[in-house]
Every structure is written in structure tokens, then in C-alpha cells.
Amino acid sequence: MSQLTVERPMKADRSFARVQEIIQECGATESALIPILQRVQDEYRYLPQEILAYISTALRISPATVCGVATFYAQFSLEPKGKHVVRVCDGTACHVRDNRALIESIRKRLRLKGKEKTTVDQLYTLEVVNCIGACALAPAVVVDEQVYGQMTGERLVKLINEIDAREQEEDL
């Protein structure tokens, strides 16, 4: 579990104030743990180890148990995610309609190697996910919560190019 032992200095920002608010809104009980983790992840884009330790203190659950829950569900990431998340559906229908070339194209476009999921510039994370329930539109891709159906490698690359362009505009 190498992902568990990586120590990284956490960027200091005001997200921490939201953590306590989230805990208060959800209630500091064990049954609120998953919703709390979901909302904290929205805030930090991943679940920093120290924040998990804090949540365990506030909820009075052992840190190992919080860690156990956070590593069980696919939605949670203990690694920072990119600003834009591209989810390629790998449900049966999408698989049957051949999403393999699609995945290869986007990996090539994002220059992801081996098991990498997030681009070096932390702009994109590529996830191959289980069925998103848009089977009739296979192959389907979700980019930042927006579903795109009957996707091709070319269209997806074009979409990424558009996001890139927007990002550059924002930078200027």
C-alpha cells in the first residue's frame, strides 16, 4: 500500500475551515463518515492524511477505521486528483462498443504512462470507471460531471483541447 505511506507536505489553505463546517453539518457520528469524506474530497480534491486524522478525532472513530473506509470506496482518493476529471465508462455496453481505442487515445493525449492517472501538471485525472448507466449512449465518457455519449477518441481529444484553451485563457 504505497499510497498510504507517501508523506507529502500539505499545502496550507483555508479549506480546513470547511472541514469543521462539513462535520458540523453532517453530524459527528459514524454514520456520517462517508458523506463527510465525500464533501471533504470535494473541498481538497482528495483526502489528505492529516485531514482524515482530524475527522477521526472529531468523530471519535479510530484512524485505522477511517482509513479503512476511505480506501474501500472507489470514489475516494488519497492521492491528489487533477483539476479536471475524465471518466471513461468501462461498463459492458461501452466495452462491447469498443472503448479500448478511446482509452488509448486519451492516454496518449494526456501523456500518461504506465499506471499514472493524473497528469504531471495536475490538470487532468483519467479514470476508467464502472458503468455510469448511460449504456444506450455507449461508449460514454464523463468530463467534469458532464456525460458525453457515442464518444470517439478524436472527439475526446478535441474536448480536452478545448479545456486546455480555456485554462490558458484563465491563466492570461
Partner: protein, 631 residues
């Protein structure tokens, strides 16, 4: 949004129903834009905006709210939930004629308004056309995809506005609740559900009435109703569609379940991957609470029922009821042994009924129309209808609802329109990754719980993935095993270690390294994991292996003995090369190659680097001169 007045007695509900129905089902023009996930992603929002602008531009009388002061003949323009035929979206329906337009673009809005709305003239260009004959169908009911369906669960999906509780009420929504609270006892409600023969639509097929009765009889001050909307089966999306299209039917079903078993609290456990469904159900809960059809003192009675939403966090195993309960409690979603069953000790150890979305959506209809009515659909042991999601290599993909016992052949050929591209049917994978495969020999098999079980398959949640003759069955088994293996919770030995080992063997065979004895090891593993695993996921995980071994053992043998893939799909047995005589050096294949394996200058014959080649076939598809050879 219009403020809603609390409905504090059945008569108020009757009055609202009459008012709403008078408008909704009048002869006035009604434009319904499908707002399901599929149509939405194809741009139905923009279509709606364009239609609205076109209507306003022409000053047509428009009904802004269902019960506003507009003239009775004012036209209305609303969204609906999923229409099921996502592939041809965005879909626009125009009532009362029920014209059905497909692949509508914002640019079509003006023509729709002028011709159809103002001139009552259907636009042939936008109609659905038969794939084979090209014949256009003007009305929804004419389209074979819909014509052969019987819609009970889905009839209001794709028609009513899921964001307006009054539209549900107009179509007799919450009538069953009012009748049950005022005229029935929990026992008579359970009795009716039992008599209807309704069985769990989530896959298990356990009789719903019996489940309710057990939970009703267990003594306990606190009980729960849980709606299982953790639809994880790849290739199934009926629960998503029902939640998006008719959330109140699910809520009413839950309240009725609560009344029947004596619960005052319920949870909807829904996948976080379904953001629209989550929004719709959340909005529906708010509205129902606002009018006192949910919450404290429902319909002015002493009966209270509260519903909360829990979003899943990405674990297929949470579709298993004990894992789902653990997840609601904030723990790792690992199943626990039964007994105790949730009915005895479920959520926080309390008696709990866990029902699937589709099951619950059936409840109001059953109680409204009676058990006899419901039993008139389907067959002896499997009453009612079932929603299937048909996808894959089939002409019409989408959500369909047919009576239980409809044959596989009717579903594939009548509703589904047959196989794409004129190819032959090879197999239908039914019931998701833990289901089984059916073949051409099963075309006359009635799709119901017991018939499917008898051939080693299952209804499951109702995914039907159709695959054509080009499909490799070993690869199919490998694909499903990849899924179940990655979704195994890791608790019990057989599922955790067994699915991994089955996957390894399948990968070995697909990669061309299989040995004959691997097949018997695979079979022994599959049978043992089936017999000995802790939960339903583990017990059914080997099904794809067992059923492909049963029906397609020859293909396995071909892979391990002859070292060939009969379907020509397994890359290990393939080699892509370029016929130098045919290649004109156009660079098209090189550009499409995702791994830059093709070298060669312009106008020179190209070469494929076999080391780099991942055998994806992109070059083969790209070449216009048939210069790429596969062998």
C-alpha cells in the same frame, strides 16, 4: 416555483388530482422534452431553450405553471425524465397527438413550432425511421421499440415532469397511499402485495409481500425501509431512469412499505455516479414533505415517515443488502453472513426492509389497481412486467418494459429490432456481470425468474447485453471476471482469492498461454466459489465462466489447444501487417495509431512495429485501401 398547499386529507388530494389532470390530460398542446441523462448529454437542454424562444417569439399562449391562470388551450412545454430510447435522443414528444421526434437539434425548434404546434403537421424528417425499411413512424406508439412494450413502471417516465409532484398526482399518484392510510390496515396492504405475486426486481426475486410480512411481524420499536438504488450492474440503468423520470412513485412505494411494516424512517441509497437521479429524488422528497405526503403527519394522519438520501461512494458490492446497510452505517461495505436477515436485524440492528427501486415503483400501481390486475401481466410464477436495459450489438438500444415471460427472441428481434449490421446473434448476457449467457438455442425461453435460473442465468437487475457473431466468449468471460474481481470486497477467502485466480487463468488463455488443465482448474474454482462464497456477489461471480464453459467450451479448447480465437478477437492470436503492394503511403493509419507503432514516409509503404503494436485495430479501420492485413 409555485408554493404548494399542504394536503391534509384525502379529499384535498382528490381535488388536486382533478384539477391537475384536467389540465395535464386536456386536448391542449403539450411539448415534452426528454431530460433524462442520455438526452441531456445529447443537448436536450438547448433544445428546450430553443423551443421556448421560438414559442415566445410567436406569442403563442404558454402555460408557465401547471395550474396557472392561462387559458385551457394554452400550450405547455416541460421536461420529462428518461424515455428509455436514449440512443435516438434528444427526444421531443408532442401531445395529444403523441408525435415523437428524435435527434432534435435546437435549429429544428422553429420548424417544430410553426409546422407541428401551429399547423398540426408532423415533420417527417424528425421522425424515427425503421432501420431496415426506412419507413418513418409519426407517433410513439407506432414505433416497434415501444409498440411491443407493456409499460407499468415506465409509463409515466418520459411523460410527466418529475420536478412537479402535481403531475404525478394528476396520474393518480399518492392515491394508493391515501387509500391505504384511511381504508386499509398494514395487514391488508401486505396481503394485497403478496397476492400480486410481485417479486424483488433487484435480482433476487424474493416475494416482496413475504419480505414485508416477516418484517411486519418482527417486534421492534424502530424499523427502517431502505430503497436500494445502488444500481451497479454494468449494462443496466432502469433504476436510474425511474428515479429520474418518476421519483414520486418510488417515494410513495417507500411510504407504503413503511406503513405496512411499521417503520417511520427510510433511506434511499443511490449511486453517486447518478447525479441527476440524486437531484431529482432530493427535489421530490422536498416537494412531498411540503405537501405532507411525506414527513410528519402524512395526509393529516398520525402516521409519519421520513426519507433520507445516502449517496454511495463507488462499490458494486453495496448493492448486496447487508453491505449496503454497512455502508449506510458508515462502514466498509462488506457483506455479513445471513442470518440474521435484514428483516430481523438490519440497519443498526433494527428490522429493515430493503427493496429495489423498480420493486418499490410497482407498489403504488399494485395497490391502486389491485393484485388481480397486476397478475394479469406476466406468468404464473413471475407476475407483472420487468424493465430490461438492452444494449450492445443491437439495433434499438435502450430501456424496455415487457411482461415477465416474454421470450428472448421477441425482446431481441421485435423490440430490439435485431442485430446491428445484419450480423448474427451469438449470445445475450443477461443479469449483469454475475448473470449468465443465453444463446440462439434460448430464443424461445421465457424471460422470468425460474426459467432463467433453470438454464444457469438470472434476471438480475435486468441488463441484457446483446453480442454478435464476432464476439469471443472467453474474452467476454474475462471481461466480466475483471469486473467482479475488481469489485470483490475482499472479505471472504473464496471470492477474494478465487476471482483473482479465475481472472488470471482467463487472462492466460486469452493471451494464448492457456493449457488444457487450466480449463478444469477454472471449472473447479468456479464451482467452489459459487458454492462456498459468503454473499450473493461471490456466489454469482463465477456465472459468466460457468455459463460460457457450458455453452462455448469449444471456444475455450480452440484457445488452449489450437491456439486460435474462433471469433478473431483475441489480440494475442492476431497480427497486423501492411501489404506493401496495396499501401500508397497516405499516413492515415499512422495518424490513427494510438501508440505510434507505424512508421514510413509519405507515399512509401508503411511498416508496423510489432513490438509497439497493441493490436487495437485502429489502422485496420482507418485504411481505405484494405492494405492492413489481419492474421
Amino acid at each position: 416555483m409555485t408554493t404548494l398547499t399542504p394536503i391534509l386529507h384525502p379529499e384535498a388530494l382528490d381535488t388536486l388530482r382533478e384539477q391537475a389532470s384536467a389540465v395535464l390530460d386536456s386536448d391542449a398542446l403539450r411539448v415534452v422534452v426528454c431530460g433524462g441523462t442520455g438526452c441531456n448529454s445529447n443537448g436536450s437542454g438547448a433544445v428546450y431553450e430553443a423551443l421556448l424562444a421560438a414559442v415566445e417569439e410567436r406569442d403563442l399562449p404558454l402555460r408557465v405553471d401547471l395550474l396557472d391562470e392561462a387559458e385551457m388551450d394554452a400550450l405547455s412545454l416541460t421536461f420529462s425524465g428518461c424515455s428509455g430510447f436514449c440512443e435516438v435522443g434528444p427526444i421531443v414528444r408532442i401531445l395529444p397527438e403523441d408525435y415523437f421526434y428524435v435527434r432534435v437539434k435546437p435549429a429544428d425548434a422553429a420548424e417544430i413550432v410553426e409546422k407541428t404546434l401551429m399547423g398540426n403537421e408532423p415533420i417527417q424528417r424528425l421522425m424515427y425511421k425503421d432501420r431496415h425499411s426506412g419507413e418513418p413512424y409519426a407517433r410513439r406508439g407506432d414505433i416497434p421499440f415501444y409498440r411491443h412494450q407493456v409499460n407499468i413502471t415506465l409509463d409515466d417516465c418520459g411523460l410527466i415532469d418529475p420536478a412537479d409532484i402535481r403531475q404525478y398526482i394528476a396520474h393518480s399518484g399518492y392515491k394508493a397511499l391515501a387509500d391505504s392510510l384511511f381504508n386499509q390496515t398494514p395487514e391488508t396492504v401486505i396481503d394485497e402485495v403478496t397476492k400480486s405475486g410481485l417479486r424483488g426486481r433487484g435480482g433476487g426475486g424474493f416475494p416482496t409481500g413475504v419480505k414485508w410480512n416477516i418484517t411486519h411481524k418482527v417486534r421492534g420499536e424502530k424499523k427502517y425501509v431502505v430503497c436500494n438504488a445502488d444500481e451497479g450492474d454494468p449494462g443496466a440503468f432502469m433504476d436510474r431512469s425511474v428515479l429520474e423520470g418518476n421519483p414520486h412513485a418510488v417515494l410513495e412505494g417507500m411510504v407504503l412499505a413503511g406503513y405496512a411494516i411499521g417503520a417511520d424512517e427510510g433511506y434511499v441509497y443511490v449511486r453517486a455516479e447518478y447525479p441527476l437521479a440524486v437531484r431529482r429524488i432530493r427535489h421530490a422528497i422536498q416537494q412531498a414533505e411540503e405537501v405532507h405526503l411525506l414527513g410528519d403527519g402524512i395526509l393529516g394522519t398520525a402516521f409519519s415517515f421520513h426519507i433520507k438520501i445516502k449517496e454511495g461512494a463507488g462499490a458494486f458490492v453495496c448493492g448486496e443488502e447487508t453491505a449496503l446497510i454497512a455502508s449506510i452505517e458508515g462502514q466498509r461495505g462488506m457483506p455479513r453472513p445471513k442470518p440474521p436477515f435484514p428483516a430481523q436485524g438490519g440497519l443498526w440492528g433494527r428490522p429493515t426492509v430493503v427493496n429495489n427501486v423498480e420493486t418499490l415503483a410497482n407498489i403504488p400501481k399494485i395497490l391502486r389497481n389491485g393484485a388481480e390486475w397486476y397478475r394479469s401481466f406476466g406468468n404464473e410464477k413471475s407476475a407483472g412486467t420487468k424493465v430490461f436495459a438492452i444494449t450492445g450489438d443491437i439495433v434499438n438500444t435502450g430501456l424496455i418494459e415487457v411482461p415477465m415471460g416474454t421470450t428472448l427472441g421477441d425482446v431481441v428481434y421485435k423490440v430490439g429490432g435485431g442485430i446491428r449490421g445484419g450480423k448474427q446473434l451469438k449470445t445475450v448476457q443477461i443479469g449483469g456481470p454475475s448473470g449468465g449467457c443465453l444463446t440462439t438455442q434460448h430464443l424461445d425461453l421465457p424471460l422470468d425468474y425460474d426459467s432463467l435460473r433453470s438454464v444457469g442465468a438470472m434476471v438480475g437487475s435486468g441488463g441484457l447485453v446483446v453480442m454478435d457473431e464476432d464476439t469471443c466468449m472467453v474474452e467476454v468471460a474475462r471481461f466480466f471476471m475483471t469486473f467482479t474481481q475488481s469489485e470483490s470486497c475482499g472479505k471472504c477467502v473464496l471470492c477474494r482469492e478465487g476471482t483473482k485466480r479465475m481472472l488470471e487463468i482467463l487472462e492466460k488463455i486469452v493471451a494464448g498461454n492457456g493449457k488444457v488443465e487450466d480449463i478444469s482448474t477454472l471449472e473447479e474454482l468456479a464451482e467452489t466459489v459459487r458454492d462456498g462464497s459468503l454473499c450473493g456477489l461471490g456466489k454469482t461471480a463465477p456465472n459468466p465462466v460457468l455459463s460460457t464453459l457450458k455453452h462455448f467450451r469449444d471456444e475455450y479448447l480452440a484457445h488452449v489447444v489450437d491456439k486460435r480465437c474462433p471469433a478473431g478477437q483475441c489480440a494475442a492470436f492476431l497480427n497486423y501487417s501492411i501489404d506493401a503492394a496495396k499501401c500508397k503511403g497516405c499516413r492515415l493509419c499512422g495518424k490513427k495509431c494510438p501508440v505510434d507503432a507505424i512508421t514510413g514516409s509519405v507515399k512509401e509503404p508503411h511498416l508496423i512495429d510489432q513490438e509497439k503494436c497493441i493490436k487495437c485495430g485502429a489502422c485496420f479501420d482507418a485504411c481505405r485501401l484494405n492494405a492492413v492485413l489481419v492474421g
